[in-house]
Amino acid sequence: MDIRPILSTLRRHKFTACLLIAEIALTCAIVCNAVFLIGQRLERMDMTTGIAEHELVYVHMAYIGMPSDGMARSAADVAALRQITGVKSVTMMNQIPFGDSSSNMGLRIDQTQQKDTINSAQYFGENMVQTYGLQVVAGRDFQPEEYQDLDKVFAGLRKGDLNALPKSALVTQAVANRLWPGQSPLGKQVYVGQGIPLTVVGVLKQLARPNQFEKGAQYSVINPIRIAMSQGAIYVLRCAPQDRDQVLKEALAKLKALDPNRIVLNKGTEDQLRHNYFRNDRAMAGILLGVCIALLVVTALGIVGLASFWVAQRNRSIGVRRALGATRRNILSYFQTENFLLTTIGIALGMVLAYGINLFLIMHYELPRLPAIYFPIGAVTLWAIGQAAVLGPALRAAAVPPVVATRSV
């Protein structure tokens, strides 16, 4: 197909042609970036926590007054919760992935370091590995005698008595790979802050921190510390997914019966926590998707409008060409090629613009670079939309009978 006649026609419609190109370029740039942003959000929402997410329910409570025997009462609570039918395991934890609180600590591999190597989440609570369904890939879980009570740990911290502090830790593979790349972490020492040593006894496949994922989503450490409800612990129960509602209801009733003098701060399933944690991302992904679709529709309609106009305007010249021997196929491909040309120029400009917008986003929103794969995908999408939009008007043009040429010339 010779494109010279097309170019000379377009030269006589510079303004409309430029408008169409600008519209396609803008759409291309924005859709590429929007789809990229959607991908980023979906990736965020897709993160794995390493825990048995569909099997956990939690209850977070607070006392109205402060009980003196917090630890004993909590032990009684846990024992009672274990009696509920369907419950596989119960623990009291200081935090839970996607929960709103977070306890973190700075880790160093050398006592003389000035700055922390990483900031990791600090989980503690008895029986965590079993209840959260964590996978220990090397070493072992804590032994019962390794656990210390949280109030004794605090007392030890006050007095500077290292013996009252826990001495062992479970770390995730992500922590191990960051602190000792290529080495076995088992038996290695890690220091909390300026000098509390911990020995790594086991490695977890995965365990996400509760929130603040930008500090390293999988940087988590477990310490063998027992925590009581009066110290802010959350009850976490594991059961089969279909039993969760029933178990939660019974657990609340049981806790209320054991001690009515407390308030439920929060309760639900781990799935709900995840759902709530990502609701802003989901809403934003929805908005972006809506904008993409709306943009493509608006652009397609613009192409239909302009193409229809051109077809109507060139009605007679189409007739003349047909009379001179051009086939319907020739006419059809004339308009298709014209659209392809305009779209291509638009896409080329759009890519440059997309890259520019991406640079802007990198500077202002800490986003990564737009992967190159978006460019060919964006191009193919716009070509397809352009061709689909021009098909109707082009078919109408091809249907113009040669006899039109003889009228009113």
Binding site: T16, Q114, E214, I263, M284
Partner: protein, 442 residues
């Protein structure tokens, strides 16, 4: 003449309903999206203390000890207990208040309601006058109450509604944690946007700042009183040394208190800056802090800007909506051009019968303007729908999303501006149509 132009425009719009609908829809959707996000932007980036924000300052010194790992170029967003109390009790500003927030258990003994968790703000007496906090009943506590650690409280309108059904509750007793406090004041509904007096840590929040738009706290008690009654429930902003007892931060190596000062003149600001620098230098000489030349005194709006209070999602949505409007504009220009040029014959006849270029131009512009007004009206309706949607979102600022008079006016202004912008070029083209050429082809 105007009536005639209007009549012509409406005739032409009716002539090709699909094309008209398409153009109106494009403008309406573009304006609806832009105005929804601009309204949210306008609400979130407004001045929470108009007329006064220039004289309100947030004071910072770098309380990190020598060689602290948490030292940065910027001082921490909050102060440690020692520095905060020293600076506050020097009374070098016109007014000054400390602020710290903590969760607290609230029970009202003479009401049949279960206890609940709420937020406690612990300012000092000047807080209420400094920030123009409106009172429904009673008033703020006195400076004496601050120093004597009086067991007094001011409660929010929401809490007053919840506990006492909105009645005057001044003089009644509230149980906070384990202590009884007497209510001395009840606020009117008060919704500072953002909750400016407790904006901290914006630079660490990665744009997720929607929570700065949360409602004010439920209860306010004097700073020093709060330290007694809610001990063990305070949260640190940052620590260079783990606190010995969780939630007890007095004397701990932690920053957790904010200091706001009111300074009425430039001279006072300058002298307060010197005061901060002198204090830091003196503390460094005493060996308590490690970085003396790291002090800041930002005014309210600068402090909000430094914390980038407008959530990045909202800014992104605004850019998105504006570029969407731009594309809709391109589209409308193209379609209008098609429409006017297609009527070349008609325009040619009018020109031949004596219409001037200017008249043709005006006629076309009227048509574009009519589309703009229609699009603007639909766009305004879409904006209301959009704001309704924002209100249904799970964000702290959702309940704020309403259209005010300014935004109502700007919507129409934008609509007409957009359509005139869209109409000018096509109308110019149409008015340049050569009548002879067009008449020949009829």
């Amino acid at each position: 003449m105007m009536g005639y132009y209007m009549d012509l425009a409406l005739r032409s719009l009716r002539h090709n309903k699909v094309l008209t609908a398409l153009m109106v829809l494009a403008i309406a959707v573009g304006i609806g999206a832009s105005m929804t996000t601009l309204t949210v932007m306008h609400l979130l980036s407004g001045n929470p203390l108009p007329g006064k924000s220039d004289s309100i300052f947030y004071a910072q010194i770098d309380a990190n000890p020598p060689l602290s790992p948490s030292h940065h170029n910027e001082p921490p967003d909050m102060l440690d207990y020692q520095s905060a109390v020293d600076l506050w009790s020097a009374h070098k500003a016109d007014r000054q208040t400390l602020v710290v927030e903590s969760p607290v258990k609230i029970a009202a003994q003479d009401v049949q309601q279960p206890p609940s968790m709420g937020m406690l703000l612990s300012p000092t007496a000047d807080f209420f006058t400094m920030f123009n906090v409106p009172f429904q009943y009673g008033g703020p506590w006195s400076a004496d109450d601050d120093t004597h650690r009086s067991r007094v409280a001011v409660i929010s309108a929401d809490l007053n509604d919840k506990l006492y059904g909105g009645a005057n509750s001044v003089g009644r007793v509230l149980r906070l944690h384990d202590a009884d406090v007497r209510i001395v004041g009840v606020l009117k509904p008060w919704r500072p946007t953002p909750q400016f007096y407790y904006v901290v840590g914006g630079r660490f929040s990665h744009g997720q700042t929607a929570d700065y738009y949360a409602k004010p706290q439920d209860v306010f008690t004097p700073f020093f009183t709060s330290l007694q009654i809610n001990d063990g429930n305070f949260e640190q902003f940052n620590c260079w040394e783990a606190p010995k007892v969780a939630g007890h931060l007095v004397g701990a190596g932690c920053v957790w208190i904010g200091l706001w000062v009111e300074l009425g003149s430039a001279a006072k600001v300058a002298s307060y800056r010197n005061f901060l620098a002198d204090y830091a230098a003196q503390q460094k000489a005493a060996g308590r802090i490690g970085y003396a030349d790291n002090t800041r005194l930002r005014n309210l709006m600068d402090w909000l800007a430094f914390n980038q209070v407008v959530p990045s999602d909202v800014r992104l949505q605004t850019w998105l909506a504006l570029s969407f409007l731009l594309i809709c504009l391109c589209n409308t220009v193209g379609l209008l051009l098609v429409k006017f040029l297609r009527r070349g014959g008609e325009i040619g006849i009018r020109r031949a019968l004596g219409a001037s270029r200017k008249q043709i131009f005006m006629q076309c512009l009227f048509e574009a303007g009519a589309i703009g007004v229609l699009g603007g009206t639909c766009g305004w309706l879409l904006t209301l729908l959009g704001l309704q949607w924002v209100r249904a979102q799970p964000v702290a600022y959702a309940d704020l999303a309403h259209m005010d008079l300014v935004m109502f006016g700007s919507t129409f202004l934008l609509a007409v501006l957009v359509s005139l912008l869209a109409g000018t070029l096509p109308a110019l083209h149409a008015s340049r149509i050569a009548p002879a050429l067009q008449l020949k082809t009829l």
